[in-house]
């Protein structure tokens, strides 16, 4: 059995024009991107999901030669995806949620209530995403669903590591409290 090629290897081959490498990379990241956009935008915005999905891949293709092989491919990929999403839905909305973070105390240690939401639970709590801000959704999805480190997520979102942990922690808390409230009724 062959050794699975890393994302970075596939990306470098794709940059050189390797169709099969692109096919493999697409196979890995297409469902992830679809899931990310689905949770981020909401299932009802199917048309917008499709547009952002297509535009993200177009930008990946047109910007592939600018990929820095010393960086993590998934970080670069989600940075492109998030920027495309922001361009599509309006950066003003995103910026207003960035400013919210600055008022909070940094470096809050997550409590037992703020433990990761498992991938299986994501589907169950999809409806509760409406209670989250855009940044909270992004931080939660990339941290828990994509299992990226807070440092990687910080790079994607262009915010600090501490802000990412805070956003994700708060998002988990909100989801859990609404989930429990729902269970009780």
């Amino acid at each position: 059995m062959g050794i699975e090629r890393s994302d970075n290897d596939l990306m470098m081959a794709y940059v050189k024009g390797d169709e099969s490498a692109f096919g493999l990379l697409f196979g890995r990241y297409s469902p992830k991107l679809n899931t990310f956009l689905h949770f981020r935008l909401g299932a009802k915005k199917r048309h917008l999901i499709e547009e952002v999905y297509q535009k993200t891949w177009l930008k990946i293709h047109s910007g592939r030669k600018s990929f820095d092989p010393s960086k993590n491919f998934s970080t670069w990929f989600y940075t492109v995806a998030l920027n495309t999403l922001r361009d599509e839905v309006g950066s003003l909305h995103e910026r207003s949620h960035h400013e919210e973070i600055k008022d909070h105390t940094p470096d809050q240690t997550p409590t037992s209530e703020e433990l990761y939401i498992t991938k299986e639970d994501f589907k169950r709590v999809e409806a509760l995403f409406k209670y989250l801000t855009e940044d909270q959704k992004t931080a939660l999805l990339l941290s828990d669903q994509e299992e990226m480190s807070s440092k990687e997520v910080a790079e994607v979102m262009s915010i600090s590591d501490a802000s990412v942990r805070q956003l994700a922690s708060r998002a988990r808390k909100i989801i859990r409290s609404h989930f429990l409230a729902k269970e009780e009724t």
Binding site: G23, N34, K119
Partner: protein, 237 residues
């Protein structure tokens, strides 16, 4: 692994994107000479299909100005096809003006303009080779109502509406974005496509006095089409 069940539409979109980018990668590997041959071939074919009827119909009436316009058109076809055949993912996405999409709008509106002149030669003071001009009754009505000014203004308007409508229709999925940038792009492409016609008017003694009113009608026609597109987008949203 995907956490969501993919519906058939999403699967179509994914396949389209995959194939489009794969296609672009394959095209990049093609020798440049092959691409040049494709561009020249397409340019020659379209020039013959549209240029020959034009030349044959009006051969005794063409001045040096028309030779210039025909040269412009051939250059336009070459530029348009070089954009069409440039290696790229061929995806029609709202608001994304790739070379392929720009060329499509440009070529369709240019070809529509040429076709209109062949059908309505009185616009350029040509006598119809068929001895029959379907728009002559309209021309006569406009002349009786407002003389050459009304006739030329309406002509510019009609030419613009037909060229813009068919052009936008050919790239509708991209053009439906209602952003200011998208509409500026469309307007600019349509305007450039009309340059040979404007050149003919400005350089012809007979047509020159009426060129400003024709251009005004043309711009009005573009605004009407773009405005209708905006209204249609809002209604269907």
């Amino acid at each position: 692994m995907s956490l969501i069940n993919q519906n058939p539409n999403e699967a179509d979109v994914h396949d389209k994107v995959l194939e489009a980018i794969r296609g672009a990668l394959r095209e990049e590997k093609e020798p440049k000479l092959k691409r040049i041959i494709k561009v020249l071939g397409a340019t020659t074919l379209v020039s013959i299909l549209f240029g020959l009827p034009f030349l044959i119909s009006f051969r005794n009436q063409l001045t040096w100005v028309w030779t210039l316009a025909l040269s412009f058109w051939v250059i336009y076809f070459a530029i348009g096809f070089s954009f069409i055949f440039k290696p790229q993912p061929r995806l029609m996405i709202s608001g994304v003006w790739s070379p392929f999409v720009v060329a499509r709008l440009f070529l369709v509106s240019t070809l529509t303009t040429i076709a209109q002149i062949i059908i309505c030669p009185s616009f350029v003071f040509f006598d119809s080779p068929l001895g029959w001009n379907p728009l002559l009754p309209l021309t006569d009505s406009l002349m009786s109502m407002g003389g050459m000014n009304l006739c030329m203004g309406f002509c510019g308007f009609l030419f613009a509406v037909v060229a813009a409508s068919l052009g936008i229709r050919s790239v509708y999925r991209v053009a439906k974005a209602t952003s200011l940038k998208s509409n500026i792009v469309i307007f600019s492409i349509l305007l450039v496509a009309q340059i040979p016609v404007i050149l003919v008017q400005v350089l012809s003694e007979d047509l020159r006095p009426y060129s400003p009113i024709w251009i005004f009608g043309m711009i009005l026609g573009f605004f009407v089409v773009l405005g209708s597109k905006l209204g249609w987008n809002k209604l269907s949203a």
